[in-house]
């Protein structure tokens, strides 16, 4: 966590919060006047080993899942087509006349996708434009997955 904190305190705080949330377990206790035992939910802290795994899983959300989601979005957008370029035309598309409904050459072409950073009602900050969703190379993602697998292997305390 110290290493992480040194690089990004916000991320370190988020991971710490995930670890500190603990987990639900099922406890049992005998009824006072019956043989049957009653069960109830109890929230307890993670064990040290569990906490390490939870922290690694949380990092995986940011370092692996998020890039994969971006690539998936770009894949699906690529297979969509652009509407005709003429402005102020409502796009009324019919399955019988696909040639006038969209630009066929745009289907299968990579699209530029971005997310607005400076929202339309925001006056508190200077205009920060948009954030471009950039495709991540699968080999880059796989290399990071390998790094995480390596970290998990160091958490293997089964022989202790």
């Amino acid at each position: 966590m110290e290493q992480l904190k040194g690089k990004d305190s916000n991320l370190a705080d988020q991971i710490q919060a995930v670890v500190d949330a603990g987990k639900d377990i099922e406890e049992t206790e005998p009824f006072l006047d019956r043989k049957k035992r009653r069960r109830y939910r109890k929230t307890v802290p993670f064990t040290f080993e569990e906490a390490l795994r939870v922290a690694a899983d949380a990092l995986s959300s940011y370092f692996i899942e998020q890039p994969l989601c971006t690539n998936s979005c770009l894949d699906n957008m690529r297979e969509a087509a652009f509407a005709p370029a003429s402005p102020n035309v409502s796009v009324w598309i019919t399955s019988k006349e696909p040639e006038i409904a969209f630009e066929p050459e745009s289907k299968g072409r990579e699209k530029t996708v971005s997310i607005e950073l400076h929202t339309e009602t925001q006056i508190s900050q200077p205009n920060r434009g948009t954030f471009l969703l950039a495709r991540i190379l699968p080999t880059t993602i796989e290399a990071q997955r390998e790094n995480l697998r390596g970290l998990h292997a160091l958490f293997d305390f089964r022989d202790q």
């Binding site: 966590m1 110290e2 290493q3 690089k7 990004d8 916000n10 991971i15 710490q16 500190d20 949330a21 639900d24 040290f48 906490a51 390490l52 939870v54 949380a58 959300s61 940011y62 370092f63 692996i64 899942e65 998020q66 890039p67 989601c69 998936s72 979005c73 957008m77 297979e79 969509a80 087509a81 652009f82 509407a83 370029a85 102020n88 796009v91 009324w92 598309i93 019919t94 399955s95 696909p98 409904a101 969209f102 699209k111 530029t112 996708v113 971005s114 997310i115 607005e116 929202t119 925001q122 948009t130 969703l133 991540i136 880059t140 990071q144 790094n147 390596g150 970290l151 160091l154 202790q160």
Partner: protein, 241 residues
């Protein structure tokens, strides 16, 4: 008492013969210094929720494609190049930027897919839907005569949450309340997340409650398939001749 993760780590390593501290420090350093490590996270952090919405939006396009239709990307103000997702809830008629949406037709019926658009609930209160599928004629009308689309125009609505840990229960309760105000035309509703919450899964069980699309990420293709197939089923059913 807050448990310090570093203290935990040291106490484990003191008794662990399989890994030593420097191995672990090296492994963490490699992970954090990777191009998809901390630097990447710092880039994506301001938009991580919206990036997940964009992913779910993409899955809706996939469902449309698998039904044999071509999703067409449109912009409020012309060709959406770049295609811009809203950074905050907004109105369907807003031209603050050339916000993008997708249009498609099934069996002669026209629909649109939107992200981050506000709808007018049955109560009159407006609600944002992270991803929504609605009737295209209602959408066009609201663009021509600026207004919030009515809940009756809505076909499907999804809440999208990207979380590193377990989901918070309050998110599920809030979305159930939203769906309740969206009337009976809503064919499909779902709570989509990369994460999970076991109690929320139970909470979503009663009829008319959103479907829990938990652990919906590219690493779990079967969960993506459930989402896509449910949407395909709903669209097919409502457009059947």
């Amino acid at each position: 008492m807050r448990i310090c993760a570093v203290c935990m780590l040291y106490s484990i390593l003191e008794t662990n013969s399989m890994a030593n501290l420097s191995d672990l420090q090296n492994a963490i350093d490699v992970l954090l210094s990777h191009p998809l490590g901390v630097g990447h996270y710092q880039l994506i952090r301001p938009v991580e929720e919206k990036a997940y919405e964009a992913y779910v939006f993409g899955l809706c396009l996939r469902a449309v494609r698998e039904l044999g239709s071509t999703p067409v990307l449109c912009g409020i103000d012309g060709t959406p190049d770049p295609f811009i997702f809203r950074g905050a809830p907004g109105q369907i008629h807003s031209k603050a930027r050339n916000y993008g949406y997708a249009a498609f037709v099934l069996n002669g019926q026209q629909f649109e897919v939107h992200a981050g658009v506000e709808f007018k609930g049955a109560s009159g209160m407006t609600h944002e839907l992270d991803v929504a599928i609605m009737r295209a004629d209602d959408a066009a009308k609201c663009r021509q005569e600026p207004d919030d689309p009515p809940s009756a125009s809505l076909i499907a609505g999804y809440e999208c949450k990207f979380y590193a840990g377990n989901l918070q229960k309050g998110l599920g309760r809030a979305f159930v309340g939203l769906v309740d105000d969206m009337g009976s035309n809503l064919r499909q509703s779902g709570f989509c997340s990369n994460s999970v919450h076991p109690q929320l899964r139970e909470y979503f069980q009663p009829q008319r409650r959103p479907h829990p699309h938990f652990r919906m990420i590219p690493l779990s293709p079967s969960n993506e398939d459930i989402f896509v197939n449910q949407l395909k089923g709903a669209l097919k059913k409502m457009t059947a001749a």
